[in-house]
Symmetry: C2
Subunit: 190 residues, 2 copies
């Protein structure tokens, strides 16, 4: 998606170690207009998969999941990283390594909002190693739900996430696929 | 706002101790259509305050802040509770007690996205004791920015947050003001 790629080229910063800083429009400050356009594009790509629910992980997945779900007219569930007191004792919980945090985090979903009949579209901000998305896949599978698609704003193709998810045999869509980051140079493959 | 109040009456659960569970449409699962309508209504109420930025706190503030900011055509910044590795060493940080977590949490904003000239509209999901919003106020003040308005989806009037914020002398708007929760009965004052 051209608008997202242009914004990454204009404002994204390669911090080294595979870390792309996009805090000015995705991860800390959010541009609602860009996020809406991204949601519309993801919704367009997943218009025909018959999804019944969008699943994401707090925190940075919420904005793109919300705009995508809004376009598809679906509810969105965000997996929590800490169990709030409003959640029942019995939950779906999985552990996943966090690239940007340098430790393992929990992903928790209440069975109240993820049932066996759901057809789940997973949306996140980044597809990198795929570990967070694989955590969401395990939560959906624990609920007995089907995964019908996976979408991300930005894919770091050199971290192998797409290959790790291919066994699911569902469409995987990213709006900006980065093949290489070298110093100030960011190269897209799409 | 009628649609929000009806949804609270239909699906909200009083868990006791002043805790209102709205996990089915605000805090874990989100209804994007309702959230869009809430954003439109908050934007309408704050259309003439000259805000330049919307400020919220992760996690549950993100959705209403995003839809409000989208309507007002403003960027939204969400204060982080953990400093990500993409953030500079020098940040604005404050501590705030979390009602639903039972402990103190950090709220952190990067000076990159909150400057002295900003006119800040604070949006959050709940206005209860006002502690989280007061934390956001301190962050904005640390940046030298002005607070020009405060908006919430749901206000628990019996927790005194509005009184705690009144010294700021800015408009405070909530879309559903709960005056009383007794057993299964939820009463609105507006």
């Amino acid at each position: 998606m051209q608008a997202l790629k242009e914004r990454i080229l204009a404002e994204g910063q390669n911090l080294g170690g595979g870390i792309l800083k996009v805090d000015g429009f995705i991860n800390h400050q959010v541009d609602p207009g860009l996020m809406q356009a991204c949601g519309e594009e993801l919704a367009r790509r997943f218009a025909n998969i018959g999804a019944t629910k969008v699943l994401t992980a707090e925190i940075s997945g919420i904005a793109p999941a919300l705009t995508t779900a809004g376009q598809l007219n679906l509810p969105v569930v965000y997996a929590r990283k800490h169990k709030p007191i409003t959640m029942p004792d019995q939950v779906f919980l999985t552990l996943t390594p966090s690239h940007t945090k340098g430790r393992t985090v929990e992903l928790i979903v209440s069975p109240e909002y993820l049932g066996a009949k759901e057809r789940v579209l997973i949306i996140d901000d980044f597809l990198a190693s795929g570990q967070t998305i694989l955590g969401l896949v395990r939560l959906a599978q624990a609920a007995g739900a089907s995964i019908v698609g996976i979408g991300a704003l930005v894919e770091k193709a050199f971290e192998g996430g797409r290959a790790a998810l291919e066994y699911l045999n569902v469409p995987i869509e990213s709006l900006a696929i980065i093949s290489r980051m070298e110093g100030d140079e960011i190269t897209f493959s799409d």
